[in-house]
């Protein structure tokens, strides 16, 4: 069967199952409702005159606060026709020289006039910049007309503190002068136009798309996989005529069909709005990012569901995934909102950040001064991130197929793991690019960051299939060698990016020793967790090993400092001996005990017959 047809026929039963009967109709209804909600909310947020939506617009910098608007336009803004009438009456009374009634309208008129008078007085004295001198003359005339007095610009009574360099202040002064101290009374209307309403709809649709693909899809896919594992419904499926790859695709297609129905109208809204009032290119980049990032997170969610479904309830797995992805999403959006030259690389690592940034770009949110990195060129991290996520998603699919179909003892083959490692290196290097002065902030920090994805890749290289742990022979040496090889490859890459003279790691034997210990133990710990059953005691010991890893990483960083720095600091070989000799001894003992116990657990002889990894 041709590949495309095979994928289609594999996905079909699962898609049909997900959208069967009334479920499909309900989902379609919900999808239309959500799309309508995006539209209605967009219009309401852009054009609504209520206090809530006004506050939201002010919060999002789409509108100035009422106080600033009144100041800039020298106007009194009323919420209703009655209030406007009362304000007009108060203004009229004030200009007619009648006693002012001290109600709300009276106070507002008095305050506005007092502020305007103060502004005129401050502008009247002192020396204005050349291009504002005409305005200053008009301000003096207006002030004299209002106070019926003469202004001596050089008088010592004047306070020459007017900020002529503040555009807002100048605009406010001009409004007062133009209106000859007579404030305008306006009934409130949103300053945004129907075009802005369409833009807002596009933003909401993009936000919904981001939520659906980067949060809902992985959670749904992971929960469903956990449920299939928990209720053992995978067994009849594994016995069907679907190949492992097709089964993995089908199991992915089911939840994605649900998300697809909900996301399709939002996608259309987003693209339509971007085409009309935004930037279609940025919107397409957003779509590419959420698709690639979503594919990666869906695979991650499914692998987590498959691994945890047997021992944890699907609800717990789904809740855990939602919490982790929710936190990551929050971090991503926050990082995108405060994007700078230094942090622009995180767009490659966090699809949520890249998607938020692209969404802001598509609809011109944020400005050059602040927020969402509008002035930054983010093409490289966004493209690298999307390509990397897509590659990792493909590798995840292969691993998933091997696990659900039980077709291999290892989830990833050597070449695939190497590709994954290289992708991780590229992503981490893009996220934290070489630093001009502090090389260690680049390559050492990245090595620490990389150790996590590399450990996960190593776990997928370990033989864990349908063979009892006691019968598995884990090729510890070659797997640890692979891990160290990946790390070595990264250091080589780093040495090409920064001057190798600044990489003090290679000059200090102790730093190299700690680096070797860190990498070796990280690999052994990953293998131990992956291949051998974990008891309570072994979990506890794994925690101790992880703590020792963190300490040794810190020591590696310390010993990898420039020689003069080391001479100044005089560090101990075992850092805890600085606190107490006993603690130093404990650290020394653990330095030997940790790798020894891990090796011992992994090298336990197979009791019956050995089964090798590949």
């Amino acid at each position: 069967m041709p590949r495309v047809l095979s994928i289609r026929s594999a996905a079909r039963p699962f898609v049909a199952r997900a959208l069967r009967g009334p479920r499909g109709r309900r989902l379609l209804g919900l999808s239309v409702l959500l799309a309508a909600l995006s539209g209605v909310l967009g219009i309401w947020l852009a054009l609504g005159t209520g206090e809530f939506e006004r506050d939201l617009r002010v919060g999002f910098d789409l509108e100035q606060s009422r106080h600033v608007q009144e100041e800039r336009r020298f106007a009194l803004i009323a919420d209703s026709a009655e209030e406007a009438e009362a304000l007009r009456a108060a203004v009229a009374r004030r200009f007619a020289g009648q006693t002012l009634v001290y109600d709300d309208a009276g106070y507002r008129v008095t305050n506005a006039l007092d502020a305007a008078e103060s502004r005129l007085r401050r502008a009247a004295y002192g020396e204005a910049p050349r291009h504002h001198r005409a305005l200053q003359r008009d301000a003096i005339l207006a002030f004299e007309a209002w106070t019926k007095g003469h202004v001596d610009a050089n008088s010592i009574y004047g306070a020459p503190d007017y900020n002529w360099y503040d555009a807002g202040e100048v605009a406010a002064l001009r409004a007062v002068v133009d209106r000859t101290m007579s404030p305008a009374v306006e009934e409130y209307a949103s300053p945004l136009s129907p075009i802005d309403a369409l833009r807002m709809t596009g933003v909401l649709a993009g936000g919904a798309l981001l939520l659906l693909l980067l949060l809902a899809a992985p959670v749904l896919a992971g929960t469903q996989m956990a449920q299939e594992t928990h209720e053992n419904t995978l067994q009849p499926l594994a016995g069907s005529a679907l190949r492992a790859q097709e089964l993995a695709l089908g199991l992915t297609a089911g939840p994605l069909a649900v998300i697809g129905v909900l996301a399709a109208p939002q996608l259309l809204l987003l693209l339509a709005a971007a085409a009309v009032v935004g930037h279609l290119g940025a919107a397409l980049a957003l779509v590419a990012v959420v698709l690639a990032g979503g594919a990666f997170l869906v695979m991650l969610g499914q692998l987590a569901g498959l691994a945890l479904g047997k021992v944890r309830s699907p609800g717990l797995v789904g809740g855990g995934l939602a919490a982790i992805l929710g936190v990551l999403g929050g971090i991503g959006v926050a990082l995108a909102a405060e994007l700078s030259h230094r942090t622009v690389g995180v767009l490659a690592l966090l699809p949520q950040a890249a998607a938020s940034h692209s969404l802001a770009q598509a609809f011109g949110l944020g400005d050059a001064g602040r927020g969402f990195g509008a002035e930054l060129d983010t093409t490289v991290p966004v493209v690298v991130g999307a390509a990397g996520m897509l590659t990792l998603a493909f590798l995840g699919l292969r691993a998933l197929a091997r696990r659900v179909g039980n077709t291999s003892l290892v989830s990833l083959r050597r070449g695939e793991a190497l590709v994954g490692a290289v992708v991780a290196m590229v992503l981490v290097t893009t996220a934290n690019p070489p630093h001009e002065w502090r090389a260690e902030e680049f390559y050492l920090l990245n090595l620490g960051l990389l150790s996590i994805p590399l450990a996960i890749l190593l776990m997928m290289r370990a033989p864990t299939g349908d063979v009892p742990p006691a019968m598995r022979r884990t090729p510890v040496g070659s797997l640890v060698g692979e891990f160290v090889g990946w790390a070595g490859l990264y250091l080589l890459l780093a040495a090409m990016l920064v001057s190798h003279e600044t990489m003090w790691l290679f000059r200090s034997p102790f730093a190299l020793l700690f680096a070797g210990w860190f990498l070796g133990v990280a690999a052994l710990l990953a293998l131990r967790v992956a291949v051998a059953p974990m008891t309570f005691a072994s979990r506890l010991w794994a925690g101790v090993c992880a703590a020792m890893l963190a300490i040794s990483f810190g020591q590696m960083v310390m010993w990898a400092r420039p020689a003069e720095d080391l001479a100044f600091r005089e560090p101990h070989l075992f850092v805890f001996s600085e606190l107490s000799p006993l603690l130093g001894l404990v650290q020394a003992v653990l330095t030997v005990a940790v790798p020894w116990t891990l090796l011992r657990a992994l090298r336990r002889p197979a009791s019956i017959a050995a089964v090798t990894g590949e």
Binding site: P236, R243, E246, A609
Partner: protein
């Protein structure tokens, strides 16, 4: 489909074997019963046969061909009902069957008819649109069996299929399995209820503690093991004169001839006694003569053929002893 198992073994923890050294041949088109107590290794063997589990050692051949890794083509000709086989509780029987029909790549134009046929065959027409979670245990079991037969497999593997079925359901299942065999399908079935398999299976394999005890043609096995067992059923008319019940007198005589009374009852106006007479048919002839001489009105005396259950019990005793 002919099945050959050679030195098949599976261990889950590396220390204990669920099944080991299993050599078995199941001829094409036969019904083979796998019998054994809990933990004998029946379900493990059936899972390996369904290719959803890989053997730790040994090999399986289907029509002389060893399965490849991820052999979807082979699985297309196997229908497998595992133990504790779960359902998607929110799917209706027709949706469930359609879903698996698509997973088995039944062509669209045949799928509707196949689903309809299964719903009728397994008496699920009235419940076709009800959620599977609301079905009775028997109905769920019928639905699971229907799923296994939907794609007309060449090999049908059923692990405890009669679980949850009422007597009518069991009778229907036997009829369905007979029909399946007539189509040339090989059936492998495990059950605790040996009477279910007695007149259904033509092949049998008894497993105990992960080992094969005996395997082969059912009639041959029964013949082989019944030579040491002489059980007779006597039908007695009530006595014509006083002197107590016929069975009382008969029991006395039989006990004198060292017979072991296994059962007694009343059927069609006659008292019945089932007794095991050690020492062969001569001893029964002597006992019969003594019964007649004692005035017991024997209507019939027939040798009871051994059943699977007897063979199984005998083999179990042997192993325990």
């Amino acid at each position: 489909m002919r099945i050959d198992l050679r030195n098949l073994g599976k261990t889950y923890d590396g220390d204990r074997w669920a099944i080991r050294g299993l050599d078995l041949t199941v001829p094409s088109g036969s019904i083979c019963g796998l019998i054994g107590p809990n933990g004998a290794g029946k379900s493990t063997t059936l899972r390996m046969l369904a290719t959803v589990m890989r053997p730790t050692e040994g090999e399986i051949r289907f029509d002389g061909r060893a399965p490849e890794i991820d052999d979807a083509e082979l699985r297309r000709s196997i229908g497998f009902l595992g133990d504790g086989n779960p359902l998607y509780k929110h799917m209706s029987p027709s949706e469930y069957l359609r879903f698996f029909g698509e997973c088995f790549r039944i062509p669209d134009k045949e799928l509707g008819a196949a689903v309809e046929d299964m719903l009728v065959t397994f008496d699920l027409v009235d419940k076709r649109d009800a959620p599977a979670g609301s079905l009775s245990k028997g109905m769920r079991q019928r639905l699971l069996i229907a799923r296994c037969l939907l794609h007309r497999p060449k090999l049908l593997i059923l692990d405890e299929p009669a679980d949850g079925l009422d007597p009518r359901g069991r009778s229907d299942l036997r009829a369905i399995l007979q029909r399946t065999r007539e189509r040339g399908t090989t059936v492998l079935i495990s059950s605790h209820i040996l009477r279910e398999l007695d007149d259904l299976c033509d092949q049998m394999a008894i497993l105990q503690q992960g080992k094969l005890v005996v395997a082969g043609d059912v009639a041959d096995i029964i013949e082989r093991y019944e030579v040491r067992r002489f059980v007779y059923e006597l039908r007695l008319l009530p006595p014509t004169s006083e002197g107590g019940a016929a069975s009382e007198r008969a029991r006395e005589v039989l006990v004198q001839h060292r017979a072991l009374i296994e059962a007694s009852g009343f059927e069609d106006g006659c008292e019945t006694i089932t007794a095991q007479v050690p020492g062969g048919e001569d001893r029964m002839a002597d006992a019969l003569a003594a019964l007649v001489a004692a005035g017991v009105r024997v209507v019939t005396c027939s040798r009871v053929r051994s059943r699977l259950e007897d063979v199984y019990n005998r083999l179990s005793e042997d192993r325990v002893n």
